[in-house]
């Protein structure tokens, strides 16, 4: 229905396709051959740390930047050769909400609608509809500078949807928001997805991609290094991990043996922090099993000496972006330092 106003070739093939995108800024290769494909009506989460190339990818797909080489199409239109056709089919909500603080919420949306070429009347109607939908109707007459971070982000999102574009690009929609604002924004994106829009979502948060995306593409140093459904990616990481910190360095081998027993994979050890971790299948069960082994006043002395290990901290942890990177690249997401070794 939304796409009905566009030509039929828009619907043939994927909604977004990128082939070998390369973009260098000086000597820094921001993109080093990015390939992407987003089937119509699905959500692709582009997951990566700061500087991985997420925003550069977005800027190329939204015609704000020209690639040095490679090609990209949005709804069948080449982003370099037909930028205007692409702009009419894409809604962008940026990392830094591009809301005009001096205009009211209503005026912001009205302005964008007019710039999409709508008549005064339909622009006004569209602005009101969207304010309603994004729960901003009551504040529509207030200048946007009085809005909270979450409200501003919702307004920016509403601006991206003015023309009911078949493809919506959300560049780090929740970065810098408080938990409430993040929840608000997730709800709105959830609705969007339910309506069948094609969405490209960039994020630094695995949790966010997990929640909203059908497919996650992990990007690092300008390349897509892994792609799959959230479940597939998590399977590669081994899901939840059991983490443990011990008091003495010489207790590490003993503790490691216990983790190898209760866990489902090879434990990793950080000698400096005296921290160990291991992937587990059923978190609570593994945690209980480990606790029992470390219990010092058990019924009989433990032959392995596990009961002598002084445990400072133990707990279950869901995989983070850091873990994804560690598993895929062997280095941490933001620092680039070496990961914990498996020995």
């Amino acid at each position: 229905m939304v796409a009905s106003m566009f030509e039929s070739r828009d619907r043939a093939g994927p909604a977004v396709r990128a082939e070998g995108l390369v973009k260098a800024f000086g000597s820094n290769r921001a993109l080093d051959g990015v390939d992407l494909e987003i089937p119509a009506g699905t959500v692709l989460g582009l997951l990566g740390p700061n500087g991985a190339g997420k925003t550069t990818t977005v800027r190329i797909l939204t015609t704000l930047l020209r690639p040095d080489s490679g090609r990209a199409w949005v709804a069948g239109h080449d982003v370099v050769a037909e930028p205007d056709a692409v702009r009419r089919r894409i809604g962008l909500s940026g990392q830094y909400a591009a809301v005009d603080n001096n205009l009211t919420g209503y005026e912001n949306l009205y302005m964008v609608a007019r710039l999409y070429g709508m008549s005064r009347r339909s622009a006004a109607a569209r602005a009101r509809t969207l304010l309603e939908r994004f729960r901003l109707a009551e504040d529509g007459g207030r200048p946007a500078k009085e809005y909270s971070g979450g409200m501003r982000r919702r307004l920016d999102l509403a601006g991206a949807l003015i023309a009911e574009p078949p493809v919506v690009v959300l560049d780090e929609p929740t970065t810098g928001l408080d938990p409430r604002g993040r929840q608000d924004t997730w709800d709105v994106i959830g609705e969007l997805v339910a309506e069948g829009s094609t969405v490209l979502l960039t994020t630094q948060y695995l949790e966010e991609a997990d929640r909203l995306a059908d497919t996650i593409a992990v990007i690092d140093a300008g390349r897509v290094i892994a792609e799959g459904s959230p479940d597939e990616l998590k399977a590669r990481l081994g899901g939840e991990r059991l983490e443990l910190v011990v008091a003495e360095a010489d207790q590490l081998p003993t503790a490691r043996a216990v983790l190898a027993e209760v866990g489902s994979g090879e434990p990793t050890v950080n000698y400096q922090l005296r921290r160990l971790s291991v992937a587990v299948d059923v978190g609570p069960k593994a945690l209980l099993a480990a606790l029992r082994r470390f219990e010092s006043d058990g019924p009989e002395p433990d032959a392995t000496g596990a009961d002598a290990v002084r445990v400072l901290d133990i707990g279950l942890r869901r995989p983070t972006l850091d873990d994804v990177f560690l598993a895929l690249t062997g280095h941490r997401a933001n620092t680039g330092e070496d990961g914990e070794d498996g020995a």
Binding site: R59, T63, R87, R88, A97, A98, N102, Y116
Partner: protein
């Protein structure tokens, strides 16, 4: 044709948005309103005393008009630079709107601000004893010429604004070049009193031409008291030269600003 209509509509939307911003933040007008008043008063009374009293003031006021509308370009620089750093330009560039509209809308809204400034300066001028002594039609042409020149200068400002990496840089870059350009001209003094190379610069400076043409259209003295009339093509064809120079400025800086807008990346 549709391109032109779309461009005009988009520009008017952008101009509307800029004017709403000014209406909500009247303090933005401080520079545009107060500084010309200060300039008229300071020059009329501080310089006026030694430079020829009433006669000098009749000569001076139109000059200050021109200088002030030339500084209009600094507002354009600041406005566009602020849109750029706040991500508004990105939003505009991602919309299917006319490429020219963001800049044209800005130069038009700055022209509205300049009109307000001209009204206030006219009032201040009348207070210090300056008078228009020509026909209403001629006076209207004088004001039109001032506005047209302001519009032209705005395009230089637009190009500079889109070159600046931050609002702070734009703040100084927007006015820095204007000081020498507007002082080495027949604004406060006659070009003929300047030494060699400065004199040549001042004679061919479009600001001198606009000032001299405006003085003629207002029926004001073209020279300060006691200075012989200027000679040379620009002085003898001040109005023609002023219009040609303004057109040239637009012809050069409109494409420059537009090209810059197309490639500009705000971060």
């Amino acid at each position: 044709m549709t391109v032109l209509v779309g461009g005009a509509r988009d520009s008017s939307v952008v101009a509307w948005r800029n004017l709403v911003t000014i209406r909500r933040n009247p303090d933005l007008l401080l520079g545009a309103v107060v500084s010309p008043i200060v300039f008229v008063l300071v020059f009329a009374f501080v310089f006026g005393g030694s430079l020829g009293g009433d006669g000098y003031r009749h000569f001076l006021v139109a000059g200050i008009f021109v200088q002030t509308v030339a500084f209009n370009s600094a507002f354009t620089t600041l406005g566009l630079s602020s849109d750029l750093t706040k991500g508004m330009i990105d939003r505009f560039r991602s919309l299917p709107m006319s490429r020219l509209a963001v800049i044209l809308g800005r130069t038009v809204s700055d022209l509205v601000v300049t009109s307000v400034t001209l009204v206030i300066m006219t009032g201040t001028g009348l207070l210090v004893g300056w008078r228009i002594s020509s026909s209403p039609l001629s006076a209207a042409l004088g004001y039109l010429l001032l506005l047209f020149f302001a519009f032209a200068m705005s395009w230089i400002g637009a190009w500079i604004g889109l070159l600046c990496r931050s609002v702070e840089v734009a703040q100084s870059a927007g006015v820095l070049w204007l000081f020498p350009v507007s002082f080495v001209a027949s604004v406060f003094v006659s070009a003929q009193t300047l030494p060699g190379p400065l004199r040549a610069f001042a004679e061919w400076n479009p600001i001198s031409a606009v000032a001299n043409a405006t003085r003629a259209l207002f029926g004001n003295p073209i020279q300060p008291p006691g200075i012989p009339p200027a000679t040379g093509w620009p002085a003898e064809h001040a109005a023609l030269y002023a219009v040609l120079a303004s057109l040239t400025i637009i012809a050069v800086f409109m494409p420059l600003a537009l090209a810059r807008y197309r490639r500009v990346a705000s971060r």
